[in-house]
Symmetry: C2
Subunit: 134 residues, 2 copies
């Protein structure tokens, strides 16, 4: 079985409370970390909630990076959904751990879109036009 996508679910516990309540800081952190992973950013959209908490998504050509923070619990949930071989998703986790000063990180990697492919063949991330017409 081969997978079309890979998704890393990251739990950042014991973060710096002020940093994960600062929407501009979080937006800048996610964009910088995503760029460092070699992903191609298509759009980004962040929101601050009242009285606290931030949600945001960076849509990338290779899928997305999403964040939700609960500063009152010093906790941030991050999803890194990628496809293709050119992006380094773990770079995003490493950078965000540093930016949020998280003292306790756990993560899980999931495979998304599992398909059986003939031995010796690869599941194409984005088949070319020629392949589409086959």
């Amino acid at each position: 079985m081969e997978a079309l996508g890979k998704q890393i679910l990251v739990e950042f516990y014991d973060c710096d409370q002020a940093k994960i309540n600062d929407v501009a800081y979080i937006e800048n952190s996610l964009i910088t970390a995503t760029e460092a992973s070699n992903a191609t950013i298509i759009s980004h959209n962040f929101h601050k909630f009242s009285p606290y908490g931030v949600s945001g998504v960076v849509v990338i050509a290779e899928s997305h990076v999403a964040i939700h923070t609960w500063p009152e619990y010093n906790y941030a949930a991050v999803d890194i959904f990628t496809c293709g071989d050119t992006i380094e998703p773990w770079t995003i986790q490493e950078k965000l751990k540093e930016y949020f000063e998280s003292q306790n990180v756990s993560s899980m990697e999931m495979k998304r879109g599992l398909f059986k492919v003939p031995r010796g063949q690869k599941l194409l991330f984005k088949p070319s036009q020629e392949l589409q017409s086959n």
Copy 2:
């Protein structure tokens, strides 16, 4: 242990190829399904890729709903990340199954942000201002 958030990872296999390659159809499907779940939509953002495939995110007050489609494999990956007790995340899965005409759906529910709370207490989704000052 109690969780701040709940995330449903849904694999929609054997979808209608044309429908999951139509960005306007997908955007309308996600918005309609998300509204039906009682979530509060804050923003939405969808993109069509060349030669095919659609990515999109609906940011909700209760977190997000994200989609990535691979029409060439009749497959769509959907994430439904929610918090609080007012939203019905499974409604989103049910509606999207119908809209995409998926013949094969699998899903997994994850807990996000686990904390130990004293017996008899609940983990608050968004504490009030009063609680914040305690």
